[in-house]
């Protein structure tokens, strides 16, 4: 056990504990705040995997963007603390069985498969090579992503502004 291992287990525990909080908490507001821990934990895991640029992007976009959007959605669509999450016992047991089967299958496949491994490269900055890749090999998906974001932006505004029973203003 060196420091890297300890850090990995700590951040993995934070990530999974946050995810459990998201999935099992009764209040939707608590779920949203548990999601913060998951996102930060995943960002820390990216750092451990030598992906510094992705880690920063994760914090900026998920914690700063998507989570704020989700909290806005929660505040605008519910009387925040009076939300009861309806669930049936039978459905819950069935869901746990199905999800357990999925997790078991995935973990078994991951462990049994002989993955082709490369030698670990030394840590180096990734922002510059990622930028070069985006402008050369991945330039078409990059441009498509920008068009998609524009479409999503306009679409979200038009859908959200539609008044009750009427057309878009």
């Amino acid at each position: 056990m060196n420091l890297y291992d300890i850090a990995f287990y700590a951040f993995a525990a934070v990530t999974i504990a946050g995810a459990i909080g998201v999935v099992f908490s009764r209040s939707i507001v608590y779920a949203a705040f548990a999601l913060v821990f998951t996102f930060f934990g995943v960002a820390a895991i990216y750092v451990l995997l030598a992906a510094d640029f992705i880690a920063v992007t994760q914090i900026l976009l998920y914690v700063g963007g998507i989570l704020v959007l989700i909290v806005f959605g929660v505040m605008l669509t519910s009387r925040a603390y009076s939300v009861e999450i309806k669930r049936g016992v039978f459905r819950n047991a069935l869901a746990i069985i199905i999800v357990g089967a999925i997790a078991g299958t995935l973990i078994t496949v991951f462990i049994v498969t002989p993955w082709p491994l490369s030698n670990l490269s030394p840590y180096e900055e990734t922002a510059r090579p990622i930028g070069a890749l985006l402008m050369t090999q991945f330039v078409l998906p990059f441009e498509l992503a920008s068009v998609l974001l524009l479409v999503a932006l306009i679409g979200a505004v038009i859908i959200a502004r539609r008044e009750k029973g009427g057309r878009a203003q």
Partner: protein, 104 residues
């Protein structure tokens, strides 16, 4: 188990995250909770991409793909919340099993 943290440990974390996300999607009725489950699933996929970038033969491609996944997640969250707001205005509920009208 290997002595040091390796590829499998990251993959197992992502598998657990994926399973929890699926559980959230199939048991929750509030549309926003379903969205949170989807975000967990996308994050688990991203952990896989970046783990294979580090340990496997994926070079930096995995990280670029992870960026596209994050972009799609952002667009998807924005659209879904717009739709949820609209449904809430029209039907006064955000539970996915109560939204069963195509036209009022």
């Amino acid at each position: 188990m290997a002595l040091h943290v390796g590829l499998n440990d990251f993959l197992i974390v992502s598998a657990i995250l994926f399973a929890l996300g699926i559980y959230g999607v199939i048991t929750r009725k509030n549309a926003i909770m379903v969205l949170m489950g989807i975000e967990l699933i996308l994050n688990s996929a991203n952990i896989n991409f970046i783990a294979f970038t580090r340990f496997g033969l994926m070079n930096l491609t995995g990280q670029v793909v992870a960026i596209f996944v994050i972009i799609l997640a952002a667009a998807e969250a924005a659209i879904l919340l717009a739709i949820v707001l609209n449904i809430f205005q029209q039907l006064n509920t955000v539970n996915v099993d109560e939204v069963d009208k195509l036209k009022n």
